[in-house]
């Protein structure tokens, strides 16, 4: 049993300590917005925030997350799709299939929180998520739009 703070709520997670956070979120907490793409920290589909940092949840066991650490998933990013990244994504129709987009949006939101005016090099460095549909140019444009650049 692990206690996790997810989207501002304390949750008791009934899973062995080695369970990856991704699967605890999806299967115990019922938060399926965070996606499985590779399981080996390569694709970023599982990106969530832990204390504001973008983290790949597939490769982090729940035992490594303390009850005081604040986990935010795509479901908790905003109440009503009002985060600047979400609004920019909507305006530019960024998603294609959308499967990678929870992770893309969480990575982009973490980037903006740290660097409100990111350069192209900042974007290249922070946004290492894979999108097989190929939305990269709109992802870049979306980050710039959200940053008011």
């Amino acid at each position: 049993m692990a206690r996790l703070n997810v989207n501002g709520r304390m949750m008791d997670i009934d899973a062995p300590p080695g369970t990856p956070l991704l699967w605890a979120l999806r299967e115990q907490a019922g938060l399926t917005g965070t996606k499985y793409g590779c399981g080996i920290a390569q694709c970023g589909a599982c990106t969530v925030h832990i204390d504001g940092e973008a983290v790949r949840a597939c490769s982090l066991p729940i035992e490594a997350v303390g009850p005081n650490q604040k986990i935010v998933t795509i479901e908790g990013l905003s109440e009503d799709v009002s985060h600047p990244i979400q609004k920019a994504w909507l305006q530019l129709d960024v998603p294609q299939c959308g499967y990678c987009q929870s992770g893309m949006i969480m990575a982009a939101a973490a980037l903006l929180a740290k660097k409100p005016k990111p350069t192209d090099a900042d974007i290249d460095e922070a946004m290492t998520n894979i999108c097989r549909c190929g939305t990269y140019n709109r992802v870049r444009a979306g980050i710039k739009l959200a940053a008011g650049l």
Binding site: I40, M127, R132, Y136
Partner: protein, 723 residues
Amino acid sequence: MNAHVKLSRRALLKGGAATAGAFTLGFSIPFTEAQAQAATPEINAWVVIQPDDRIIVRIARSEMGQGTLTGLAQLVAEELEADWAKVGWEYPTPGENLKRNRVWRNFSTGGSRGIRESHQYVREGGAAARMMLVEAAARNWNVPVSECRAAKSIVTHAPSGRTASYGSLAAAAAKLEPPKDLKLKPSSEWTIVGKSVKRLDTVDKLNGKQVYGADIRLPGMLNAAIKACPVFGGKIASFDAAKITGMPGVKKVVQVNPHTVAVVADTWWQAKTALDALPIVWDEGPNARASSDTIAAMLREGLDAEQAFEGNKAGDAKGAIASAARKIEATYSYPFQNHACMEPMNATALWTAEKCEVWCPTQNGEAALAAAIEASGHPAARCDVHKVHLGGGFGRRGRSDYVTQAVLIAKQMPGIPIKLLWSREEDMLQGTYHPITMARMVGGLDKDGNLVGLHMRISGQSILAGVNPQALQNGRDPVVFQGLNPGGAEGPFGYGIPNLLIDHAMRNPHVPPGFWRGVNLNQNAIYVECFMDELAHAAGVDPLEFRRRLMKNAPKHLAVLEAVAKGIGWGAPSAPGTAKGLAQIMGFGSYVAAAAEVSVSNSGAIKVHRIVAATNPGHVVNPDQVAAQVEGSFVYGLSAAFHQECTVKGGRIVEENFDSYPAMRIDEMPKVESILVPSGDFWGGVGEPTIAVAAPAVMNAIFAATGKRVRSLPLKNADLRRA
């Protein structure tokens, strides 16, 4: 929607709410419970209008990111004279299609066919519904139909100024006879089609609400992880279920078929953990001796073989080449590749003695239903498939192997919904791969540098032989010649060469092939367009000018090529250190070209700075979505060109995940400029064609930059270091 489906939908929503507390769960987002209960009568198969004026357009094709859902809704809404702001959508089920005599026709979503092959009948569906709404209004007002007109979901009687909303007319309209004579609007009068309206399916992809197949949760559902023999053609010798039956959550170890075993557990993570611990002994069979080298040798033999299927022939190519002033020859090759959809394969199945239901992402709902019927042992009328959005398809989800597996597992656990999800590793090892081929290109130039003869010998795999051998024509696979044909929507060859022979020596290795975004156009465009470049350089003629001379009778091919040449600044000096390349091809009903600007560092690192694409798809339904497809196809095509290759060792695929099978990321992404030059006289596809011109344009630019000709992919294997 039939009552059965409605019932299970409600059960789902309720079950979801009961088991999930406050969390957003459930299935089939486009329907709300209220919608399901309202049972608004449809006007026809394509159009349902609710009393509050909301319009539901039924979409038979599958949405996998390519935007076909929005495009098809635009086509219906245009003829319906709908207020676009009120338009929503739903998927009919393939089971309903079967019951209603295939009223929605083809569900298959591949080959960039979604719009180009259904625009006529979906527009007719919209037009018929509009005429019925107008007639309902006219009857109500007791005035002639000719005095009424429809616009923005409102019917107006001009002489009296009376108006009625579609929502108020729908019930009466639904009772009328469908009209017989339908007249579609000329493109000059379109107000919704041809506009970059926003996609209908974006919001739920921004907040985690979109339910993909991998996210489905049904009351009482269990989860399955699966492993098939990694050597294609091998089977299970034995496995020791007792070793894992006591592991947490494990419910059952299921032998799915002679070569596949699955573990069913409470959660998928438990199922996968137990499956990884399951001792399995494989009987790998004779294919275990196959490797990339043996396959390459098999293909190389085909390059010189006597026997080959003809694809395109004019004059006497071999004779013309033999007597030509100069003979130019080159051999190219293209590897196996996995689709690597972002969402691994999955399906959820519920089998009872009475029925079988499947929830899954599929590019072909009817094929998924056929698979469910066969695997379940139930008659067609007791089976159905509920489609969900796909986390990528790219051709892989046109196959239904994962549906069959899910049903076979569920059948061993009656009454319990089973969600089968493949691991990424399973997805990489059990693909249906981009076919492997080689091509020997031989050209003859006369003393003035004119191309007098061309022989293109393709050796390698046939997709049809692997997936649909009944479709072979006396053993010949016509799909192999995509882009190289004498005529037709699948690529008339753009070059007028007096003596031409394009033929195929079919060599089928044991690795299963499949349709992979762009299909055979991918390698054919590389083979032809890179070799054209080689010929141009050999002739000492500018590559654009060399092509122009051969394209006098192919004005549409030439027009897109000229458009990208202009866009990239062909002929003008390149920025220091950069060089340009171009390519064109025709396929999936559309004419496309690309021009790339690249640089290659001293250490051999390639950077693509810019790509300009031009597409003539005849008609453009949504320019912004076409641009998105062009951008995305370049990522898919350049990921393949730069990084992706499935190699074979011991009969199995070596690459198991994105670490050894990388995809392009944002830092490698070039600027893409998409030019649309629709000629308005045909309907072509856009999801695929441009993928094929990305790689050859880049490869030709690499030659221009380095003087080194790369003839095999992926480019990561090429040594471009400066000596």
